[in-house]
């Protein structure tokens, strides 16, 4: 443990002592007036995936929680990382994938309950001229305003070292590639790797055997990206900041652009006409599962499933609810090409196969 960490830990402990002490002090005080006792909020904390922080920090979310007599704290952690972190004193874990939940089970975490509360499909972010240029190649398709990306065709083109120009996008530099986060670190890259592995397995959920048979192909596809970010938020920001000339295509969550359109409208306005959200065929979902570790965690689950929170999560942050639908039409966001319904997900590779896949991409 580094010196900084130790100091940090001491600070946290000191803070806990002060809060605890003050609360004891407060409890020991006589009520200042004999008014009806207010409901004591239930304090809780847990590990939260970074993409949901904007929801948890939303003043409306906090006010809804107050009304429900909940005081919800969090610590930011990656979906896989939180399963490795110490969970003592934690009331909940809130990762963004089933794979992470399975990993937690393997690590001996036994939640009192589990519930899918939010969903967001994995999408490919790109730009209109790139998307339109690729329609002819069979990689992209357009149905009305909604674009889709055929994973099999994309995988095939990457394995054949097609350049952007070969595929019809003459302004592109170098080889056709789809950038993602590092599959070993971050959920969106991880699920994209699963889609690639499934495609190489002939459309079946990839197995340890099929992954071992396709090691070269999998590495080749991820080597095309070179640099990979470790967080989905950072990589979406990079996609926007650097733009089409640097990042023509990037894997992300549908919720990211919807959140941007609501919470940073000026920024969104700069790309509203050019940004394209392409749903993958087949689809894969980022599934946000709340793992309640105790009674307080269960209260949080109930709260998150309430109509008000489901509505807020959709309207202001673009998360689809447990049903995989928004609480109303996606037209509310004014983002072109958002599908009302996204087809059900493919089956992901089993945990052992996912583990092997991460090893392969990381080079071991």
């Amino acid at each position: 443990m580094s010196k900084g960490r130790i100091i940090g830990l001491i600070c946290v402990l000191a803070a806990v002592l002060v809060v605890g002490g003050a609360m004891l002090f407060r409890q020991a005080q006589p009520e200042p007036e004999p008014a009806p006792a207010p409901v004591e909020p239930i304090e809780m904390t847990g590990y939260l995936g970074g993409e949901k922080i904007s929801l948890f920090d939303d003043p409306e979310f906090i006010s809804l929680a107050e009304q429900a007599a909940l005081s919800i704290g969090y610590r930011k952690a990656g979906s896989l990382a939180m399963m490795e972190a110490p969970i003592e004193g934690m009331d909940y874990l809130f990762p963004s994938s089933q794979a992470a939940v399975a990993h937690g089970h393997e690590r001996g975490i036994e939640p009192v309950s589990e519930q899918i509360v939010l969903n967001s499909p994995i999408v490919i972010y790109t730009y209109r001229d790139v998307a339109d240029a690729l329609v002819g190649s069979g990689i992209m398709a357009k149905d009305g305003e909604v674009y889709t990306l055929n994973v099999d065709a994309a995988v095939e083109a990457m394995l054949a070292d097609r350049t952007w120009a070969d595929l019809g996008y003459t302004a592109g530099y170098g080889q056709f590639r789809i950038d993602s986060t590092d599959p070993a670190e971050s959920n969106s890259g991880n699920e994209w790797a699963a889609l690639v592995a499934n495609s190489l397995a002939g459309g079946q959920p990839a197995s340890v055997e099929s992954i071992d048979a396709n090691v070269g192909s999998i590495r080749k596809i991820f080597a095309k990206s070179g640099w990979m970010e470790t967080s989905s938020e950072d990589s979406f920001r990079q996609f926007l900041t650097l733009g089409e000339g640097s990042k023509p295509m990037m894997v992300g969550y549908e919720s990211q652009v919807l959140d941007l359109s609501v919470n940073e409208p000026d920024l969104f306005a700069q790309v509203a006409d050019s940004l394209v959200v392409a749903y993958t065929t087949p689809t894969v979902w980022s599934t946000h599962v709340i793992m309640a570790l105790d009674e307080a965690g269960e209260q949080l689950t109930e709260f998150l499933m309430s109509d008000e929170v489901q509505k807020l999560a959709w309207e202001r942050h673009g998360f689809r609810g447990a049903s995989q639908l928004g609480t109303d039409s996606a037209e509310r966001f004014g983002v072109a090409g958002i599908a009302e319904r996204v087809p059900a997900a493919v089956e992901l590779p089993a945990p052992a196969a996912m583990g092997r896949l991460i090893e392969v991409v990381s080079g071991s």
Binding site: I7, A14, A223, T241, G243
Partner: protein, 582 residues
């Protein structure tokens, strides 16, 4: 009910205060009070717009402090920053004025910022390098948060207009073509082009350009790989391109100033588009010819200038002060100031305040600047381990060999701590293993010459390649005794430098370290010898002890070099920094 709420609120407030006191006590925030610049004369810019009035900027060494003119700041953020952010001072001033959050900008190279993160953030509250890659590579402990790009600017060639026309890459109107990297290499090999460029292992602009050269010349259509780095044909071509480097440096901002100070000698540089724009403003003010921005057709790298919070257990106040400062930098008033100095603040490299007259000037098409973002077609960045390998390869094999003459003061006053500092400094700069830690290790073709001096210069000792042991022994064994005549030592140093220039194939520099006021009997002789030699050899004086800044500054300005101040900090680290300049 109301009374109860009030009491609860009061208790909560007390609790917060206690909590904050505890947390602030734990953080380094209080330690970073802006004392660093307290002994320098503060200057207030009278031209600043009214809404950011009340911010005072002071500068000492590599630290620039932005503080409220009146009153206490909400907090003070200590930021490890790339030197190019000196040009963003007006935007920073706005953000400080708008939020009441004071900032200390500690300017350093990208590699140093990476090292800060690797070391757990030291006592910094934030990092602000020129590119995200330094954060991602350095942040192995996952201590950064809220990473956000503040602006973008591509790394380009700036070439004097007449030179660009002569090379066939521009016409009189300033309209440019985009040569391929192979065509640029050809011009270098034919002896028609030399250029200044920062060291790839010390500065982001140099590293980005170098990675772009490698990627473009590999002609592989994809990101650079380890196999590419093992390809002798590719590395040979990149080495040939780097032979065109006529001046190196550890800082992009200083490189720009160096070119502006002597445009006849330096007709081209690799630097940020924004710094070429700034250079042009200064060149035209001085009545000199501007440079044209040349975007290589196949190899651009883009700087995205990310600002990130460093979480090392400070108070929540530190993070919320950071957030408000970061948000203020994204406000239109701040982005306008960024674009006025040639940085792009829109998504995808767009210019968002294009209708402002100063912004229009900064992105002038007469300087070859293409405001439209379509010019920014960048190389795919290689994976982290490939970047590290490429940087090591640069330092040990591909960079142009350097020839450095060290003239070091061994007068009586250097006895003790002074001499120890010199010996440590030379060791950190020249001992292959120690120098490798800062990626300044000597290549096999580098030459280092040590000339100890007091009242007279001693015999020079020449070390070729990485075998610097004898030179370091010489430095250790020489006794500190006698008077100070640095000019006599410089005359001898100049002989070596001139010879190296004649031989060719080196970037040549003289590092002069002195701790006292020099005798001046030989001053005029040196100055006329320097003029007669007519070689572009910078002198990098290192100030120590009671050295006379006037004497040293005269030398750096005479030779278009730079004075380094070793008086207040760690002398050894200044030697290291100087080595990073050559």
């Amino acid at each position: 009910m109301k009374g109860h709420r009030f009491a609860a609120g009061f208790l909560a407030s007390v609790l917060m205060v206690v909590l904050c006191t505890v947390l602030v006590g734990c953080s380094g925030l209080t330690e970073s009070a802006p004392e660093a610049a307290s002994d320098t004369p503060a200057q207030t810019d009278s031209q600043e717009p009214s809404e950011v009035a009340g911010v005072t900027v002071a500068e000492q060494d590599n630290v620039q402090t932005f503080d409220l003119t009146d009153g206490e700041p909400v907090a003070t953020l200590k930021i490890a920053s790339g030197s190019e952010n000196k040009e963003a001072a007006r935007a920073i001033k706005y953000a400080v004025g708008a939020t009441g959050v004071a900032v200390e900008m500690h300017y350093m190279g990208s590699l140093d910022i990476m090292a800060v993160l690797e070391a757990g953030g030291e006592d910094y509250d934030a990092v602000w390098p020129a590119s995200s890659m330094w954060i991602s590579m350095g942040d192995t402990q996952r201590i950064t948060r809220n990473v956000q790009s503040t602006s973008t600017t591509p790394v380009v060639f700036g070439i004097a207009k007449s030179k660009a026309i002569e090379l066939g890459w521009a016409d009189e109107s300033g309209t440019t073509t985009s040569p391929t990297t192979a065509e640029i290499l050809e011009a270098v090999q034919e002896g028609r082009l030399t250029f200044a460029m920062t060291s790839a292992t010390q500065s982001n602009s140099g590293a980005s350009a170098y990675l772009a050269f490698l990627t473009a010349l590999s002609e592989a259509d994809g990101p650079l790989t380890s196999e590419d780095l093992a390809d002798g044909n590719l590395t040979g071509r990149v080495a040939a391109l780097l032979d065109g480097v006529d001046r190196s440096s550890g800082s992009s901002d200083w490189l720009k100033e160096m070119v502006v100070a002597d445009p006849d000698q330096h007709q081209a540089m690799v630097n940020y588009e924004s710094l070429v724009s700034q250079a042009n403003r200064e060149l035209e003010e001085a009545g000199d010819e501007p440079m044209l921005v040349i975007y290589p057709a196949d190899g651009i790298a883009v700087s995205d200038s990310p600002l990130a919070f460093v979480d090392r257990g400070q108070s929540e106040e530190a993070e919320s002060a950071f957030k408000s400062f970061q948000e203020a930098l994204a406000e239109p008033e701040a982005t306008l100031e960024m674009e006025r100095v040639g940085r792009r603040t829109g998504l995808g490299g767009k210019v968002v305040h294009a209708d402002d007259a100063e912004v229009e000037q900064a992105f002038s098409s007469e300087w070859g600047i293409i405001e439209d973002a379509s010019a920014l077609k960048s190389i795919p960045l290689p994976a982290g381990d490939v970047i590290s390998q490429a940087l090591t390869l640069y330092q040990t094999g591909l960079k142009k060999a350097s020839y450095t003459v060290w003239a070091v003061d061994y007068s009586g006053s250097m006895l003790g701590a002074g001499k120890q500092g010199v010996v440590d400094g030379l060791t950190q700069a020249l001992d292959p293993a120690r120098a490798a830690e800062s990626m300044i290790q000597p290549t096999e073709d580098d030459v280092n010459v040590l000339i100890p001096f007091a009242g007279q210069p001693d015999e020079a000792l020449v070390a070729t390649g990485s075998d610097t042991a004898a030179l370091l022994r010489y430095a250790r064994d020489r006794e500190a005794i006698g008077g100070t005549d640095m000019y006599a030592a410089l005359i001898r140093a100049l002989d070596f430098a001139r010879q190296a220039k004649t031989e060719g194939g080196y970037t040549v520099a003289i590092a002069l370290m002195s701790d006292g006021v020099s005798e001046t009997y030989t001053r005029d002789a040196f100055i006329s010898a320097y003029a007669e030699a007519a070689v572009d050899v910078p002198i990098f004086p290192i100030m120590f002890g009671d050295a006379d800044p006037t004497q040293l500054d005269e030398l750096s300005s005479l030779s278009n070099g730079r004075t380094f101040d070793g008086r207040s900090g760690d002398l050894a680290s200044v030697f290291r920094q100087v080595k990073g300049y050559n």
